[in-house]
Structure formats: structure tokens, C-alpha cells
């Protein structure tokens, strides 16, 4: 029963005139929580009433505290008629329930009315007294922290990452209840707002319970969405990643004192006894470089590996599952030749080859080739089909072909796979021998030795992960060392019919609406749950096919049109280090927390607007050199899809794909050449109007083609910019009555580790015609010019020349031939691979039909960003480090009406493409005063609100940066310069160095070893140890730094102080001006330190008007609504004592209009994390600043 909620209504200001006669208002306030309502006195005849009420006290369950919002209604007292409502304020109490977040809510809130918008402001004070509830069976989950941020929040460190949590709740949409016919629009809107607020509270509470069950204390990457299913109801669903977070300022001394990561072997050894015997013990050694260095004899490891592997296999055999078997095999391959956990991208090459095929062809081909379902390659086509088929099946009208495909392919394939697995084992072994003989790969770098151990570790991680139903992570960036390898994007879509599935028992009659809704909601969520379960299973299996055991950067979305709903899920298949995972044993937790402490510190620090301190860099190197995540995780001999593999251009050791697509942010440690840019593929396809099942079938038939073409477009555009990797890929498919929209956005970069992409070649099909040839050569020229221009623009100048020279030390040709041999041994389908190998650089576009012409057109119509501008949809742009604190978050919405209904696909495409391009152009123009600047986290959302309308909404932040890198001062600049120096050095020296005899040991070195580059190269062994020495040194300084901090910490109590300070500053302003609240979709604000997270902001608003013209038409209406939403978000943050919202996201913007009736309605849902930040300069100015998080950063920065 634990909780007393107290609220006090202080005053109002700028109230609207409610009494025409006196031009004044007699205002009073109703405060409602649950079923209890209090009222203030009427404050007569004033537009600025001073109620100064008593404290209204509500004694409530904490369950209710979580679910319910505090509802404040301002009314105008009327003696003779009913009181008129002025507006309402909903206050989410949740932030007050966590001891670490806000303690009081106090400030001015806009009084909001769904018809009139903001009407004045009200000053409110809210407090909560919470009693401890130790009841084991409680239904509440107070204290679990929620973060929208998709990385470990800045002032926390992750002790453990527990994994995926999801939940959904369903209710009837008040808008469609019978009562809606007799109540006012205002009442209906308010019912809806309140319901959604309740539902999200409930959802959060339920997820919190799940997290507590898992032993976590926080949800990171919390993504909550609404599905407005119309007649069939309202679904609120959420996913997130459960974590155990530790506040950095609370770090106890041992944690920080223990050496960062593995640089101190002694510590590790001490650990191992504590750790559980055998298996765990092994793991603990894996990470110690010294250890591995000494045990790096090649026989040593070849002996140990088989045994371990065997055990692993046994384990897996029990499950007797095709993919699993394959996985363990993959592990094996890793150890042997030194292809550790690598990652593979989809084949781009394939894509072009395919472009000449008719889709159906490519289809059948894929089905025969392998069972991988990866959304990237042409395969996509198949992938998306399969998701759709279940629906159809359930509806009893499956498409025969699809079904056939599905049912026939998988089983046989699995068999063949396990076969090949066996084969491969032997092959890779011999390969290893070969390597050893030639003296190539065996020269030991620490990284390599770690291989076997890593594999071991990976197996353990796998077990840990596989125990989970869904090894998914909504995070998009990770503490260094967590993400080992990236496989590629996995996605699944499913088309569902909302009707009938919904309430089978009740049928279609309207009468059910009169029933008690609760009586059947019970089984309702099951249906939706099942839908998502299905999709997630599919994603999981895709990831397995890529040789990965986890999916990161995972997200889910829906698109609804009438009764058809497309469910989509996507993520990036990856292999993770077990380090932050929960194993069964308790001591793991123990060990983890100790080992990881410092690593996380650096992790938390790394994002501070730059690429991290050198210290953290150093560690990252050891654990995961900048290229490791690119290495393919799957077995190169049994690739899930045709890909062209080469040796990593950084380490020259492991295989990398030629192109990498991911949904995550660029890892901080990644080596990138030049700058990146936003790449978008846009597609519009007409669809016949249809109803029900027919519609669903039509959509699921179209989806594969849509997705396939999107990928082709992405690939082409990527090549055109001469880049080789996509990050933050987000594909959105939107369905309308008569068309399907597809929009894929991603940030293209040139990963140094991946091979340089070849150019694009255009081939005509009918060479007879001379003018045609000329046309083609013209186009070719244009394309070549664009590529050259882009290279210059994005500063992509990979060392091409050196690359050729380098070919010699590594016997690539030989390698390849071996590779091919093994292919022919294993199965013929893989032999296709070597065909694609032949034309390495030729990315051929054949213009044989209008489609291709269109593709090329769209390629060339993308206008370059104006000078001084960059854009990306990831958090920050690689290659830019010196952000200033100037930032401007904005939302832009456009709705385009297609007047001509009989548009062709091409026409539609052009319209859609222009719409997006023009929108971008407009943005650049508007933000021209911020140049040089970068649009970060550009998030496009498309929708088809009506027949002939296309709606595009963009939310992004423009951040200025300093062009002149040398002008900065302080730690950042040092870091940046270092970073810069490092990358420069890398460019200049890495390859020449590799030419030296000891090429094998270079990767680590060249990657970051500044100091060594100059001197003569010592022997490999020496160098290794010297490296370790260096690291230890660094670690030492860091340790000193943190200890220093600790002592200062003890002197002053950290947080209360920060809080009171900020409060005070607020107060002083309160009289005159409003606290400035910054908003950003990023997880940080450059040049600042986030010192406190105050809680999640999750708000839902409805605005409606019946006087559209008077409010300035649709644009005027939406303009003021968006401004109002911003204002309300800012007010709530300010009331919590915060000064910024990070990870801000506008998840929903549903706009409907009826110009004939002069009406419009709009729903907006936004979310983010309220925080307090302090300028870094201020921190430095006041040395005794008690916040250890910040102090640590600076000290470690100085230490380096």
C-alpha cells in the first residue's frame, strides 16, 4: 500500500479570457488521481490566479502510481451554467518513483486543451512519499529505471546486460466506442489521451516486473509504440533491453581500482579460482593478453581446441538442430585459421547480377541455394515472403507458390549443411597447417592467440544466449569490447489481417462493444503476442543462419491501413562478448562487475561528443581492434549467401565481406576513411485497391519486390559514393489504400577494413544502336564523374596503390583457389561464388528495361548536400570530432497530394523521390546559419494517410562543428588531435609497414601504435610485451585518477548537491524567464556532461480543430501543434529539474484532415530521457565538483 502522492496548486498565468463580459476568468482547479478528486477554491476575476492551495494528499498503491497519471484540470467557475474546462495537464509520476531520478516535480506546465491547444500555464508542485514494499508478489516495479537511449546511459556503467524484454497491452480505442457518437470531440480525445497514458503506465510497470525477475534494475533502449488498429482496438507495445546499471558516482573503490580489462594478468589469475571451475576458468583467461601470448604455440592451441570443440558439439547435438550444428562448426573454423568471429555482409555483387533477372527467377534460385534468410541480398525477396505466408495460411488462402517454397526448402538444406560442416572441419584444419607452414599467419599477435580462447568464450556466450528465448538487444551502440562481430542485417515482415483474428469469439457484430471489455481482453494480447513471437523467431533464425547468436540494434514497427497490418522487425546479427551477459553462475556476476568496472567507465565516456579518450582507445585496441567487428562471423565455406570475401584491410588476418549493412551505430573503435553521408532508397509502388484477404495477399506479393528494389537502390547509391558500409539502416514500409511506400535510410561510410568498392559499369543490352551506345557512355561518364566528385566530397582516399603491393605478402590467389576447392567439395551451389569473384570491381548495371533506367535516374538525381553540410542518420558523423555545443533539433512534416490518380510506378517514384529531396534541400536552407554543421540522426517517417496523400515527417538535430581542429583546447582537443594523428598515421604508415617482414604483427601496431611506428621494430614478442607495458602504464594513471576522484567524492555528497544546484538556478530564473531546455535525438550533448537522468518522457497528445481555416489551414494547425508538443516536453523536463531531453524521438505523427468540414485531427507521440547536463567548461572551472563521473573523465583524460 505504499505511497502517498502530494500535489499543490500554486498559481496560474496567461489564462484565456473565459468571461466575455468582464474579460476575465474565475478559475479553479481539479486535481485527480485514480478515483479521488480534490478542488481548489475559485480565484475570481483574474487571468493570473494565485491559488496557493493546501497539499492535496492521495494514498495509493504503488501499482497505481505507476499506471496512473496525475490529472489536473483547470476550469472556469460559472454560477448559472456548467463550469467550462480551460484545459488539462497530465503529469507522469513515474520519475518520482525511482530514488535516483527526480525528487520533486515543480514548475509551470502549459494547460492543454485538445481543441484549443495551450491556454495559459499552471504552477504545480508534486511529491511522492514511497514506503518500501517487500512483498514478493507485488505487481509494481517501482524503481526500475527506463531509458530511451539505445546505449548505456552516460553516467552509468553496465554491470550486466540481461537481454530482451517485451510486453504489450490491448484495449478498445475510445474513438471507436459507441459512446463516441454522443460525446463531444473533446471528451473523446481526452478519454483517448488518458487511456493511452494509463496503458503506457501499465506497460512500463509490467516490463519493470520482468526486469526485476531477470535481476536487472533498468531498461535501456526502451521503445514504446502504439498501434491504432481502428475498430479492432488499440495496442500499446514496448521492447527494451534489461540491464543492471550502476551509477558511476557510486562506484566503490575496488571496482575502479581493479585494472581495466585484462591488461593486468595477475588480477585475472586471482579471479579464476573464484570463478566456477573448468569452463568459467577458461573464460577468464581468455582475455588476458599475456596469457595468450605465452600459450600461443600453434600446436598448443590446435590440441586444446578439438577437445573443447567436441564438448561443445556434444552439447549441441542434443538439440539436433541444423543451424546450431553449423554454429559450433563456425566456431571451430575460427580457431583454426584465424578467422575468428567474423561478420559478413550481404553480397552486393549478387544484387547487381540479379538486377537483370526477373524477381521470380531470383527467387527460386535462392530457395535452392541456402536457407539463409537475410534481408540484404537479393534473398530478401524470399525472406519477406515467408513472413507473409503464415498469415495467409492462417487465413486459409495461402499463396500456393510461397507455401511450396517454404515447405520444401528448409529441411533438405539443413541436412546438407551439417554435412558440409563435417567436411569443412577437416578442410580448415589443413588450412591452418598450410598457414603455419608458410609462416604467414602464425606469427603471433595477441589478437590471434586470443582466437581459440575467444571461440571458447563465444561458445559459452552462446549457451548463455541460447537459453534465452530471444537474444535480442535494442541497443545500437555498446561498451567497447561487447560487440565482437557483425553479420549483417536481418529482418522479417508479416502481413496480418486485423479483423476477425481479433475477436473470433464475438464475430463482427457491433454488439460486443457494449460488453464489458475486460471480459475478453484476457485472451486478446495473446494474438498480438503470437504475431510478434512469430516474427522474432524468424529474426532469430536469420541470425543463426548468419552464424550469429545475437541480434543487436533490434527494433519493431507496424504499418496499418484499414484492416491490414504489416509487422516488421529488423536488427543486426552479431556475436557478442559474454562479458556483460548473465550466466547462470552468480560468481560470474561478481567477476564481471569487477573486471568491467573500468572498461565501462571508458565506455560511458567515449560518447562525450568525440571518439573517446586515448585511454579507452588503448583498451579497445587490445580487445577489439577497429576492424574486428567487420570480420565475418559465419563460415566462409558455407556462407549463408553469396558474398565476396577478402582479407581485412586493417589486420590482413581475417576475412571481411566487401560490403557491410547494419542497423547499429558505428562502433567507436571502427576505423573509417573520410566522412560518411546519409543514403536513402525511396520507392513507391501502386497497388490495386482491395479488401480484406485479397488486400493482404496483394501486399504480401508486393513486399518482396519492394524490399529487393530498395536494397538494389541502396547498394547502387553506396557504390556511387564509393563507400562500403551502411550503419543505422532503417527500412520503413508503409501501406496505403492504393500504394506501398518504401523508404530505407542509412549512413554510408568507408570502413577502412573493407575493400574499396569498385565503380559502377553500365551495360546496354542492345548494342546495335549507336545513339543508344552513346547514351550509355554518356551515362557512364556521368556516373564516373559523380563517383570521383563524391570521393573528394567525403574525403575518401583509401590507399589504393598500396593495396596492390600488399597483395604479395599474403598469398591471396592461393587462398582463393583453396577456397574454391573446398567449395566444390562441399556443394555446387557455392560455386557460384567464384563466378562473382571473377568480376571483382565490376558492379554492372544492365539497362535492359525501364526499371533499370529508372534506377540509374534515381541514382543521379540525388542532389549533393550543399557545402558545409553533412548528414547522417546515426548518432554522429564519423570523421567529425570537434562539435560545438550549438544544436538545433527540429521536426518537419510534409504532406503531398497526388492529384493524378492514374500515376505509373515511375511517376510515383519520382514524386516520392522529389518530395524527400526537396525536404532535405529545405532543411539545408533553413539551417544555413549553422554551417559548418551536420544533420545527425535524421529520422524519416513516411505514411500514406489517405488515398492520394503521402506524408513525410523528419526529426533530426543539426549540430555545428568547428572547422579548425587546432583551435580547441583542453582534453578534447588533445584526444582529437591524437585521434587524428592516429588515423593519419594509419593511412600513411600502416601499409608500408606491412611490407616489412613481420607483417603479421602489424595489425595491432599499425592500428594505434604511435610510439612504435618511429622506432625500429623489435621482435614480435618484445613488441607485444612493450604494448602491454604501455597499457599497464595507462591503466595505472587512470587508476590514480579515479582514486583521486574517489577521495574528492567522499568529501562532498555528490548528487543532492547537483540537484539542489540546478534547482536553485531554476528558481532564480523562475520569476523572469523560462529554463532553456535543449532537445536532441542523440544520447548526448556535445561539450557537456550528463550528470543525472531524471526519468523517461513519454507523452501522447491529440489535437483537433473544427476551425481549420481560421487556424491557418493544415500547416498552421500542425505548426502550432508541434510547437505545443515541444513546449509541453520542455515544461515537463524543466519541472523535473532538468535542462535537456536526450534520445528524443517523435514516434508517431498521425494527421487526418477533412477540409470540407473545416476539421483536422492530429496525434503525436514523443519520447526521450530527461537529463541534467553541465557544460564541460563549467566542470573544469570548478575543480571540487563532486560528480565523479565527470571527474573521472577529466582525470583519465589528463592521465593520458
Amino acid at each position: 500500500m505504499p505511497g502517498k502522492l502530494k500535489a499543490k496548486i500554486v498559481a496560474g498565468r496567461h489564462l484565456p479570457v473565459m468571461d466575455r463580459a468582464s474579460d476575465l476568468t474565475d478559475a479553479f482547479v481539479e486535481v485527480k488521481f485514480g478515483n479521488t478528486t480534490f478542488k481548489t477554491d475559485v480565484y475570481p476575476k483574474s487571468l493570473n490566479p494565485q491559488w496557493n492551495s493546501e497539499w492535496f494528499k492521495f494514498e495509493v498503491d504503488d501499482e497505481d502510481l505507476q499506471d496512473e497519471p496525475l490529472q489536473i484540470t483547470v476550469l472556469d467557475h460559472d454560477t448559472y451554467s456548467a463550469n467550462d474546462a480551460i484545459g488539462k495537464v497530465y503529469i507522469d509520476i513515474d520519475p518520482l518513483l525511482s530514488s535516483e531520478a527526480a525528487t520533486v516535480i515543480s514548475g509551470w506546465f502549459p494547460i492543454y486543451d485538445t481543441i484549443h491547444g495551450i491556454r495559459g500555464e499552471i504552477n504545480v508542485l508534486v511529491k511522492v512519499e514511497l514506503f518500501n514494499d517487500l512483498n514478493r508478489f507485488r505487481q509494481s516495479s517501482c524503481g526500475v529505471k527506463f531509458f530511451c537511449t539505445t546505449s548505456i546511459p552516460r553516467c552509468y556503467r553496465a554491470v550486466m546486460v540481461h537481454g530482451f524484454v517485451e510486453e504489450l497491452v490491448v484495449n478498445e480505442d475510445p474513438e471507436y466506442q459507441w459512446i463516441d457518437r454522443i460525446r463531444t470531440p473533446r471528451a473523446s480525445n481526452e478519454a483517448r489521451q488518458r487511456l493511452i497514458s494509463l496503458m503506457s503506465g501499465e506497460l512500463q510497470r509490467k516490463i519493470g516486473l520482468k526486469v526485476l525477475e531477470m535481476g536487472g534494475n533498468a531498461v535501456v533502449g526502451y521503445l514504446q509504440c502504439f498501434d491504432l488498429e481502428g475498430e479492432s482496438g488499440l495496442v500499446v507495445r514496448a521492447i527494451g533491453t534489461a540491464c543492471t546499471l550502476d551509477k558511476l558516482s557510486n562506484t566503490y573503490t575496488p571496482a575502479t581500482a581493479i585494472n581495466p580489462c585484462n591488461s593486468s594478468p595477475s588480477k585475472d589469475i586471482k579471479d579464476s579460482p573464484q570463478a566456477v571451475p573448468s569452463a568459467l576458468g577458461c573464460r577468464s583467461t581468455h582475455s588476458s593478453p599475456v596469457h595468450s601470448a605465452s600459450s600461443r604455440l600453434s600446436q598448443g592451441f590446435s590440441v586444446s581446441v578439438p577437445t573443447l570443440l567436441f564438448a561443445g558439439m556434444k552439447h549441441r547435438h542434443r538439440s539436433s538442430d541444423g543451424p546450431r550444428a553449423r554454429q559450433c562448426r563456425a566456431g571451430f573454423g575460427e580457431e583454426a585459421p584465424g578467422v575468428p568471429l567474423s561478420s559478413g555482409p550481404p553480397t552486393p555483387l549478387r544484387a547487381q547480377t540479379f538486377s537483370s533477372f526477373s524477381p521470380s527467377k531470383s527467387y527460386s534460385r535462392q530457395s535452392s541455394s541456402s536457407d539463409t534468410e537475410l534481408s540484404l541480398t537479393p534473398k530478401t525477396a524470399r525472406i519477406c515472403l515467408s513472413p507473409s505466408s503464415p498469415t495467409l495460411q492462417s487465413k486459409s488462402s495461402p499463396i500456393p507458390t510461397t507455401k511450396a517454397l517454404r515447405s520444401t526448402t528448409p529441411p533438405p538444406l539443413h541436412v546438407s549443411q551439417s554435412d558440409t560442416a563435417m567436411l569443412r572441419k577437416s578442410v580448415s584444419f589443413s588450412e591452418d597447417l598450410l598457414l603455419a607452414a608458410s609462416g604467414m599467419g602464425s606469427g603471433g599477435s595477441a589478437g590471434k592467440e586470443a582466437g581459440p580462447l575467444k571461440a571458447l568464450l563465444r561458445q559459452q556466450t552462446q549457451t548463455a544466449l541460447e537459453q534465452r528465448e530471444f537474444p535480442f538487444f535494442t541497443l545500437t551502440s555498446f561498451p567497447p569490447g561487447f560487440l565482437l562481430h557483425v553479420g549483417g542485417v536481418v529482418s522479417a515482415r508479416s502481413v496480418k489481417l486485423l479483423d476477425r483474428i481479433h475477436n473470433p469469439a464475438l464475430g463482427n457484430t457491433r454488439s460486443y462493444k457494449l460488453l464489458d471489455w475486460n471480459s475478453f481482453t484476457a485472451d486478446e494480447p495473446e494474438t498480438r503476442d503470437a504475431w510478434w513471437e512469430e516474427i522474432r523467431q524468424e529474426i532469430k533464425s536469420h541470425a543463426k543462419a548468419l552464424g550469429c547468436h545475437a541480434v543487436v540494434g533490434y527494433s519493431e514497427s507496424t504499418s496499418i491501413c484499414e484492416e491490414v497490418c504489416i509487422l516488421s522487425a529488423s536488427g543486426t546479427a552479431a556475436i557478442l562478448s559474454s562479458r556483460f551477459m548473465q550466466d547462470s553462475a552468480l560468481d560470474t556476476e561478481h567477476r564481471l562487475s569487477r573486471q568491467q568496472a573500468s572498461v565501462f567507465t571508458s565506455g560511458a565516456e567515449k560518447g562525450e561528443g568525440d571518439m573517446g579518450s586515448t585511454a579507452s582507445l588503448g583498451f579497445e585496441d587490445l580487445m577489439s581492434p577497429g576492424c574486428a567487428f567487420c570480420h565475418i562471423p559465419y563460415d566462409e565455406l558455407n556462407m549463408p549467401f553469396p558474398a565476396q570475401l577478402t582479407y581485412c584491410h586493417c589486420c590482413r588476418r581475417y576475412k571481411v565481406p566487401d560490403v557491410l549493412f547494419t542497423t547499429i551505430d558505428l562502433p567507436t573503435e571502427a576505423n573509417v576513411t573520410g566522412k560518411g553521408c546519409l543514403i536513402q532508397a525511396r520507392l513507391c509502388r501502386t497497388k490495386k485497391k482491395a479488401q480484406g484477404e485479397g488486400n493482404a495477399t496483394a501486399i504480401s506479393n508486393l513486399l518482396p519486390f519492394l524490399e529487393y528494389e530498395l536494397h538494389t537502390q541502396l547498394m547502387n547509391k553506396l557504390k556511387l559514393r564509393s563507400m562500403n558500409a551502411l550503419f543505422g539502416l532503417r527500412i520503413q514500409i508503409s501501406v496505403g489504400e492504393n500504394m506501398l511506400l518504401g523508404l530505407a535510410s542509412a549512413t554510408g561510410v568507408y570502413l577502412t577494413a573493407l575493400p574499396s568498392p569498385g565503380g559502377i559499369q553500365i551495360a546496354g543490352k542492345t548494342p546495335s544502336d549507336i545513339t543508344y551506345e552513346q547514351h550509355i557512355s554518356n551515362m557512364q561518364k556521368k556516373i564516373n564523374d559523380t563517383i570521383a566528385k563524391n570521393k573528394e566530397l567525403y574525403e575518401i582516399n583509401p590507399p589504393d596503390l598500396v593495396e596492390e603491393v600488399i597483395g604479395s605478402p599474403i598469398p591471396e590467389p592461393r587462398q582463393r583457389s583453396r577456397l574454391f576447392r573446398s567449395h566444390s567439395e562441399s556443394s555446387d551451389e557455392v560455386s557460384e561464388l567464384d563466378l562473382s569473384h571473377g568480376k571483382k570491381d565490376a558492379f554492372v548495371l544492365e539497362i535492359d528495361d525501364t526499371d533499370a533506367v529508372e534506377d540509374i535516374h534515381s541514382l543521379l538525381t540525388d542532389a549533393p548536400t550543399p557545402p558545409g553540410f553533412y548528414s547522417c542518420n546515426t548518432e554522429i558523423m564519423p570523421g567529425i570530432y570537434n562539435w560545438t555545443s550549438a544544436l538545433q533539433m527540429f521536426t518537419s512534416v510534409r504532406v503531398f497530394r497526388l492529384s493524378n490518380v492514374n500515376l505509373t510506378n515511375q511517376g510515383l517514384n519520382k514524386v516520392f523521390n522529389d518530395l524527400c529531396e526537396n525536404l532535405l534541400k529545405s532543411l539545408y536552407f533553413k539551417l544555413r546559419s549553422m554551417v559548418p554543421c551536420c544533420l545527425c540522426h535524421v529520422n524519416f517517417t513516411v505514411a500514406v494517410p489517405e488515398d492520394e496523400l503521402i506524408q513525410v515527417a523528419v526529426t533530426a538535430v543539426a549540430m555545428s562543428f568547428d572547422k579548425d581542429q587546432t583551435q580547441e583546447n583542453g582534453r578534447q582537443s588533445i584526444d582529437k588531435n591524437l585521434m587524428k594523428a592516429i588515423t593519419e598515421n594509419e593511412d600513411q604508415l600502416q601499409f608500408p609497414l606491412e611490407l616489412s617482414a613481420e607483417s603479421s604483427s602489424n595489425p595491432l601496431n599499425s592500428a594505434k601504435g604511435l610510439s612504435e611506428v618511429s622506432g625500429p621494430l623489435p621482435s614480435a614478442r618484445d613488441r607485444c610485451s612493450s604494448w602491454i607495458e604501455q597499457l599497464r602504464l595507462k591503466a595505472h594513471t587512470i587508476r590514480c585518477g579515479s582514486i583521486k576522484t574517489m577521495s574528492s567524492l567522499e568529501k562532498a555528497s555528490p548528487l543532492p548537491e547537483g540537484r539542489s544546484r540546478s534547482l536553485r538556478s531554476n528558481r532564480s530564473y523562475a520569476g523572469s524567464s523560462v529554463t532553456v531546455v535543449k532537445m536532441t535525438p542523440l544520447s548526448f550533448i556535445p561539450g557537456t556532461k550528463i550528470i543525472k537522468y531524471l526519468g523517461i518522457i513519454n507523452m501522447f497528445f491529440i489535437r483537433e480543430t473544427t476551425s481549420l481555416r481560421e487556424e491557418g489551414g493544415v500547416s498552421g494547425f500542425l505548426h502550432s501543434f508541434i510547437a505545443e508538443v515541444f513546449a509541453m516536453v520542455r515544461a515537463h523536463v524543466a519541472a523535473l529539474g532538468g535542462n535537456a531531453v536526450v534520445s528524443y524521438n517523435m514516434k508517431e505523427c498521425v494527421f487526418m484532415e477533412n477540409p470540407n468540414k473545416n476539421q483536422a485531427q492530429c496525434l503525436i507521440n514523443v519520447s526521450g530521457d530527461a537529463v541534467i547536463f553541465v557544460r564541460e567548461s563549467e566542470l573544469e572551472a570548478t575543480p571540487p565538483q563532486p560528480h565523479s563521473a565527470s571527474a573521472q573523465t577529466s582525470s583519465s583524460g589528463e592521465g593520458t
Partner: protein, 357 residues
């Protein structure tokens, strides 16, 4: 095919000063787009008409939404709807309240009523200021007038405090309010040569020296009205012209001082009695509201025009007025030194300001 809806909203409200000026000047969106297209400043951005149109629309909408707040500038600082940095707020307010002096000259001294508002199209035609802009400026005058009219304390400070304007702009508003309140005649043909600045200066003088607040800041009275008592006392100055001895003595003293120093000495000598009589008459008549209104026309007709026809230079006039004022103190029988000083100080600086072509 058309853009149905097109909005851009920033967390920090983006304000383009150039577009703001176009909006204030009363240009329509399409005019503004055309003018922006023609201006050189934007040519480097390679902005197309479409982009400019979208941007201009957004800006105009923002201004329209802000306008409500600008009507009460103190609200702008603590409203929550738009997040605008303080210096931008100041700019918005200052620019919004700035006015065309040609327009203000036309309205000066007129009653700020609906009747005048109806004449705005004529004024717009005459001054070349767009009607929209005229309306805004007129409404600003009216609004400031309404707020300040009943307030106690110094006029300029009141304007500044309530409308957060810069010092110089607040002074201009004070002048407008002052003229509107006292309804000074400014429209006569003979006064046409005077600019708004001339009148604003005079108003400043009147406010500073002739109102109740001028004597005693602590007095809880208004700055808008001239001090009745003072005006009444001015009748006493008649002695300077009615007493023949005094007039002669005064004349001889002034002539003595000015001999050889001014070019128009002979004309001055010949006209002294007329000039002195004119100034004293103006003073003694100020008890009548009607005559207060005619203050400026009287000054021009009775004093400035005679001097001008005699080709006095500004220097001559300055010397004359200086000595005309100071020598009165040496007159034995003259007892109204303070009153004289207060009257002549303002009259002198007003005449000097108004003495031009």
C-alpha cells in the same frame, strides 16, 4: 499534385531577421519570396523559389503565432510555446515596435481612435508604407498609449518597462503618447516642414520640464499631462511685456550683449518688442487647452517665421535666446526667475530645433 502541408518547427525557434523585416513591412508571402529571390544575399545558397516559399511560409506562420505575445512583450519572456534566446526576443520586440517616422509624423497629435484608423489607407498612400504595416504601427501606438496613459511615474520608463524597448525607442513612444494625449496640432500646412524627430525632441523637452514629474519625481502623478499650476503661473510672465520699463530695460540689456555678435542685429533691435511679446503671449495663453494644442503653430507663426524672413542664422537665434533668457534675471523688478527659466529653457530648445527649412 500539390504540397498540402509543409511545416518546420525547431526546438529553438528559428528567426530570419530579413524575413521578419519583410513581414513587418507588410509584404505578402509571394512578394517576400520574390524579394528574397532578387536579393544577392541568398544567391550563394542556390535556393530555389520553392525552398524560399516554404521557408517564408514557415517564418510568416511563426511570426503570426508570436504576434499575440508581442502585444504584451513581457509575456514573451515567460511563455513556454516558443523557445527563443533572450537577445532574439529583444530583437523581435524592438523590431516589432519600431515605426516609420513618416508614418508617425502623420499620426502625431491625432486621436488614436477608430476614426483615425479608417484614414490609414490615405496615410499609407501618402507615406508609401504598406497598409498592413500602418495598421501594426497604429495598433502599437494605441496599445502603448492605453497601457501607459493611466500609469504613474516617468513616461519613458513606463514605456520601457512595459514594452521592454530600447531607450531611444521608448523615448519616441513617449513622444507619440504625449502628443496623442495633449493632441498638439501638427497637421497645419505651416508645420509640414517639421519632421517627426523635431517633434519628438520637443515632446522630450516638454515631458522633461513642463510636466508634474519633471519637478518632483516622487510626486505620484502622471507624466503625460503638463503641470496645470505651472501653466497657470506663466501668466505672471506678462509683466515682461506689459511693464514698459521692464521691456525697454530688457531690450537694452539684450542689445548690449549682442551688439556686434550677431549679423541680424538691426532686425533684432527693430523686432525685439514683437518677438518678446510673441513669446510671452504664448506663455500666458497656455492655460487654455486649445492654446496648448496650438503651441507649435504659434511658435512657428509668431516667432520662427518673422526671424526666418529676417534671415536670422541659427547662431544668431541661439545667441539671442540665450541672452534674452539670461538678461531677464538681471532685471530688478522681475521676480519669476525659476518660472522664467523653466519656460524659456524648453521654448529655446524647441525653437532652435524647429528653426530650419
Amino acid at each position: 499534385m500539390s504540397m498540402e502541408l509543409d511545416v518546420f518547427v525547431g526546438n529553438t525557434t528559428i528567426i530570419d531577421e530579413e524575413v521578419y523585416q519583410l513581414w513587418l513591412d507588410g509584404h505578402s508571402v509571394s512578394d517576400a519570396v520574390r524579394m528574397r529571390l532578387e536579393s544577392d544575399a541568398l544567391s550563394e545558397c542556390e535556393a530555389s523559389g520553392e525552398v524560399l516559399h516554404s521557408d517564408t511560409m514557415d517564418q510568416y506562420r511563426t511570426f503570426q503565432m508570436c504576434e499575440r505575445l508581442l502585444h504584451c512583450p513581457s509575456k514573451l519572456a515567460n511563455q513556454l510555446l516558443f523557445q527563443i534566446p533572450a537577445h532574439r526576443q529583444a530583437m523581435l520586440i524592438e523590431r516589432y515596435y519600431e515605426f516609420d517616422h513618416t508614418f508617425a509624423r502623420e499620426v502625431l497629435g491625432k486621436k488614436l481612435s477608430k476614426g483615425t484608423k479608417k484614414d490609414l489607407d490615405d496615410i499609407s498612400l501618402k507615406t508609401g508604407v504598406a497598409l498592413k504595416s500602418c495598421r501594426r504601427q497604429f495598433d502599437n501606438f494605441k496599445r502603448v498609449f492605453k497601457v501607459v496613459e493611466e500609469l504613474k511615474g516617468p513616461l519613458v520608463e513606463n514605456v520601457q518597462h512595459h514594452f521592454l524597448l530600447s531607450d531611444s525607442l521608448a523615448r519616441d513612444y513617449a513622444a507619440v503618447v504625449f502628443f496623442a494625449n495633449s493632441r498638439f496640432e501638427t497637421g497645419k500646412r505651416k508645420l509640414q516642414y517639421l519632421s517627426f524627430q523635431d517633434f519628438a525632441f520637443c515632446a522630450g523637452q516638454l515631458i522633461s520640464y513642463w510636466t508634474v514629474g519633471a519637478v518632483d519625481n516622487m510626486m505620484e502623478d502622471m507624466d503625460v499631462d503638463l503641470e496645470k499650476e505651472f501653466l497657470h503661473d506663466l501668466k505672471d510672465l506678462k509683466v515682461l511685456v506689459n511693464d514698459k520699463d521692464m521691456l525697454d530695460q530688457h531690450k537694452s540689456l539684450v542689445c548690449y550683449q549682442l551688439k556686434g555678435k550677431i549679423k541680424a542685429f538691426s532686425e533684432m533691435e527693430a523686432n525685439f518688442k514683437n518677438l518678446s511679446r510673441a513669446l510671452i503671449n504664448i506663455a500666458s495663453k497656455l492655460t487654455n487647452t486649445k492654446d496648448v494644442r496650438d503651441l507649435f503653430i504659434d511658435l512657428v507663426e509668431k516667432f520662427i517665421e518673422p526671424c526666418r524672413s529676417d534671415k536670422w542664422t541659427v547662431g544668431d537665434l541661439t545667441l539671442f535666446l540665450t541672452h534674452y533668457t539670461s538678461t531677464a534675471h538681471t532685471l530688478e523688478m522681475f521676480r519669476f526667475q525659476i518660472l522664467w527659466e523653466r519656460y524659456m529653457g524648453v521654448i529655446k530648445s524647441c525653437i532652435l530645433k524647429m528653426y530650419h527649412d
